[in-house]
Structures are given as structure tokens and as C-alpha cells.
Symmetry: C2
Subunit: 293 residues, 2 copies
């Protein structure tokens, strides 16, 4: 992926700022454990790709946007893994934060990473205050209440679930943020980029459902069969494996078709194609080409 | 307290925005449970008082700053009450959020309130982008890592505690934020206001230690003796009850002396005096004049 070095450097800058001076050592270590080494960094890749397609005239602004999205995504993984949610012992092939550091530090790690996400954007305000402000609003809308990932997770505590609101918020919101924030970081109108993020998010949800149904725990690097255990809606139980794979390809085709006409259009279509390859499961119980999130 | 109506209205505006549209109903209710009705709102009162002393030329800016501090303060209370921390069943005389709504929604309530705090400030950026940006940075520094309330709480998981770093971060940071953000919201340099916040924070910590040692659970509206149970440092065990009360009065005297020369100086000293009255415990096992936090 073309933006990996810039994304990793931006995330590391934020983590190092949070570890500066004399912080409590275990919480400082837990922050790094939660974020490094990362998964595919799909959301930051989308954000940087859209920024590049829009000219990326303030590189540190798009890097901050991408890093902020990943920090809050990692925060959501740490809190989702807690005993009161998925009670997951492993994440990205190593112990989850609460397994490695205990529950109190896992709660605080998530909280600190959320704050760090907003701080990362705010540090760019001197370069362009209006863009930094818009990025903050876009990030908050896609992560909090009433429509962000917190809201999405909140639907899991309801007896009657609004399924489309659930998926849109839980998985889709941060992909929409990724594409919109890429445009905002480069000074462009985010509206034409919303559909791209929404479709990639939808594809990602179907791919995640397929992985959850097809892979074993060792291959996936996290517990499997969670949707069945928690009776969560799942594309495989609805469409079957082959149906879900067809649906995934359709959605990604639609994502490519939705890319607005711009000078980076071809590059961006290539990024979506690579994301598609990465997302599509190869075969049951065969190792995926890329690490899971 | 003179700013109560403006503070409550500002907090309610933020909560209502988070409940708008079609949010998951229980999480929407949990947000309100965590924030309404409030305690003394001491931090927002300090923020508004400093803003008033500095001219308060953009009233919605100081209101947003005050509300953002209280939202994040409430988030920290919700997460502190979780079973993995204090395991508190009651807060402000009613069930804690995890008791009323369950642990998953309590985790999400804290997360949502943190995000809502940053969103509340970002909504003011159109009025003055630079001030909103500075407020965001001040809020992040006082709440996250390495020096904010998350860091303070993180020290409780360390075998060797840096006591001054612990108190400065856990209790002091949000009071420093309150005084500094009041100045920033009114377009003033926050530096001269740092000491006021730091001293009120120190006083609050001593008062909290006194309440924890002197009151019973029914009077206090939350579990007592927590410092002893969790072997946390406490001013009463260090100085005795009378020694801690003298220390409290000294600190508040110092707080009043630290107020920079300004047109609202007398009003602000009066606010500190009223805060002092509110903080000073009346007598063992006698009801406090004001609700606890």
C-alpha cells in the first residue's frame, strides 16, 4: 500500500507524544501495545488515498486525519475486547490489552486513545484552523452518539435492533469518516466522497462476516464464531458463503464506480482493488494473505 | 452560584444533540443518567467565573468550554465506578451507570461523553476557530496521556506511585483546565490563571479525602472508605482530620491570593469562597449542605 510509511510515522508521533515526560509506565506501554504493530490500517489508507486524489496540499493534515481515525479505531478494539463485550483473549495474534495489562488499564487505554485522536487533529490547527475544526467534527460524528461507532455498539444492548442503523454506525461510520476526512484534509468538499467510504465499509462488514464464519482462531488471530455466540446479524447466515462473496464483489464494484472524477481517480481505484483482494477470503481454513485487524 | 442556568443549558444542549435522530435508546438514556441531574458543577463554575473575569465576549464559547469539561468529568466518574475500578453501586445518590444499565453501556457512555466533550467545543469553531482549537488542546492535555486524568488513574496500577504526578493528573488537571479554558474562551492568555485552577484542585482533593474519611455512605451518596480499601494516598491519614481541615483553608486562601488583577477579581474571589464553603466538611456524620459529586 502506497502510504504505509507516512501512516505509521504519524501514528507513532501521536503515541510518542502521549508517552513523553513521566507518564505512568504501564499505561504508556499499553497504548503502544494497542496500536503497534498495526493491522492493515485500511481506514488510514483510504483517508490518505482520498487526500492524495484531492491534491494533499498539507501533508501533515492528511497524516493527522489518518492517524486520528486509526487511534480511535484501536480504542474501539480495546474496549470491544473487554470481558463485558467480546471477552477476547487475543487480538492481532497477541494478547488483548486487558489480558496483557488488566481491565483497568484496558479501559484507560481506550479512553486515552480517543482523546489522543482529537489531540492529534488539534495540533494541526496552526496550519489550517478551519480544516482542523471540520476534521474534528467529522471524527466526532463518526465515533460518538447518535450515529458513530459508540452508537453502533450501543445497538447490541437493545432487544429490538435497527439493523441498517446498527451496521451503518458500527462499521460504516469510520469508513465514511476516512473518505470524508481525506477530502477535508486536502481542502475539498467531503460530500462527493461519502459514498466511497460507505461502500467500502459495507464491503468490510461482509468480509468480516465471511472471515468470522470461515477461519479458525489461529489463522484469524482473534476468536471466531463470535456473531453466532452473540446472535449478531451476519451476511453469511443470510446469504450463504458464495452469496456473501458475490455480494462483496458487487459492493466493491460499486465503490470503484462511485469515485468522483479527479486527477487521482485511477490510483484510487487501484487502492480499492487492492483492498478488495485483501478483504476477500481465500478459502475456508487457509491462511489469509494479510493480517486480520 | 451565578452561572448555574447557563451551565445546565449548555450541558443539556450537548446531551440533546447526542440523543437526536434515532440513537440506540438505552445508550441515549444512559448518557442523560450519567450527566443529569449534576453535582455542584464546580469545574464549569470555575471556568465560567474566569471567563467572566476576562470579559466573556463570546458567551457560547465559555459555555461550550464549561460543558465540555463537565461531560468529560462525568465520563471519568462513569468509568471510575466500573467493577474493575471502584465497583461503586451508587453515584450522586442514585444507581451508578453500570448498575442501572449494565457494564457494556457504562463503557460506551464514558466513551460517548468524551467524544461529546470535544464535539461541543468544535461546534464553536465558526465563531472563533483559534479559540476553539486552543480549547481542544487544553482539554486533551488535561484529560489524556501523559498528564491528564487518564494518566492520573493509570498511576493507580503502578507498584511505585509518583504521588505528586498522581494528584496533579487525577484531580488537579481538570481544575487547571477549568481556569485556563475560561481564559482561552474569553480570548485571554491562560498562563496567569493556571495557579488558581491548580490550588482549587488541590483543595478539592483534600476535601474529598475528608469526606471519604468522615461521612457515611448514605450522606455522601457514594461508597465511603474507598481510599483505605484501595490503599490510596489520603490527606487525612497523613495530617489527621483537623490538620487536613487547616490545610484546606490554607490552600483556598492561596487560591484567592493567586487571582490575577482584573475587573472581575472580587466576584471571582467570592466564587472561590463559596466553593470553599461547599467543600469544607461540616462535621462527622452530619449531612453536607450540598450534594456530593
Amino acid at each position: 500500500m502506497p502510504f504505509t510509511a507516512r501512516i505509521e510515522a504519524a501514528i507513532l508521533r501521536s503515541i510518542r507524544a502521549g508517552q513523553s515526560g513521566t507518564p505512568p509506565p504501564k499505561l504508556a506501554a499499553a497504548l503502544e501495545h494497542a496500536v503497534m504493530p498495526g493491522g492493515a490500517r485500511i481506514r488510514p489508507q483510504i483517508c490518505m488515498s482520498v487526500a492524495a486524489a484531492c491534491g494533499d496540499d498539507i501533508p501533515t493534515m492528511s497524516e493527522a486525519a489518518a492517524a486520528s481515525i486509526e487511534l480511535i479505531h484501536c480504542a474501539s478494539l480495546v474496549h470491544d475486547d473487554l470481558p463485558c463485550f467480546d471477552d477476547a483473549d487475543i487480538r492481532r495474534g497477541k494478547p488483548s490489552v486487558h489480558k496483557a495489562f488488566g481491565e483497568p488499564l484496558a479501559v484507560l487505554t481506550g479512553d486515552s486513545l480517543i482523546i489522543m485522536g482529537f489531540e492529534t487533529i488539534a495540533r494541526q490547527m496552526e496550519l489550517d484552523c478551519a480544516r482542523a475544526g471540520q476534521l474534528t467534527l467529522a471524527l466526532a460524528r463518526s465515533t460518538g452518539m447518535p450515529y458513530g461507532i459508540c452508537a453502533g455498539q450501543g445497538w447490541e444492548s437493545e432487544p429490538q435492533v435497527d439493523l441498517s442503523a446498527y451496521h451503518r454506525a458500527k462499521t460504516g461510520a469510520l469508513f465514511v469518516a476516512a473518505s470524508r476526512m481525506g477530502a477535508i484534509a486536502a481542502g475539498h468538499d467531503p460530500e462527493p466522497w461519502t459514498e466511497l467510504g460507505a461502500r467500502i465499509g459495507e464491503a468490510f462488514q461482509v468480509a468480516d462476516d465471511l472471515r468470522d464464519a470461515l477461519y479458525d482462531e489461529e489463522t484469524l488471530g482473534k476468536p471466531v464464531g463470535q456473531d453466532e455466540i452473540h446472535a449478531r446479524p451476519n451476511a453469511v447466515s443470510e446469504l450463504g458463503v458464495q452469496g456473501a462473496i458475490r455480494r462483496l464483489k458487487d459492493i466493491l464494484g460499486g465503490a470503484i464506480a462511485s469515485i468522483p472524477s479527479c486527477k487521482g481517480e485511477a490510483m484510487l481505484a487501484e487502492v480499492v482493488r487492492r483492498t478488495a483482494e485483501r478483504l476477500t477470503p481465500v478459502a475456508p481454513n487457509k491462511a489469509p494473505a494479510h493480517p486480520a485487524e
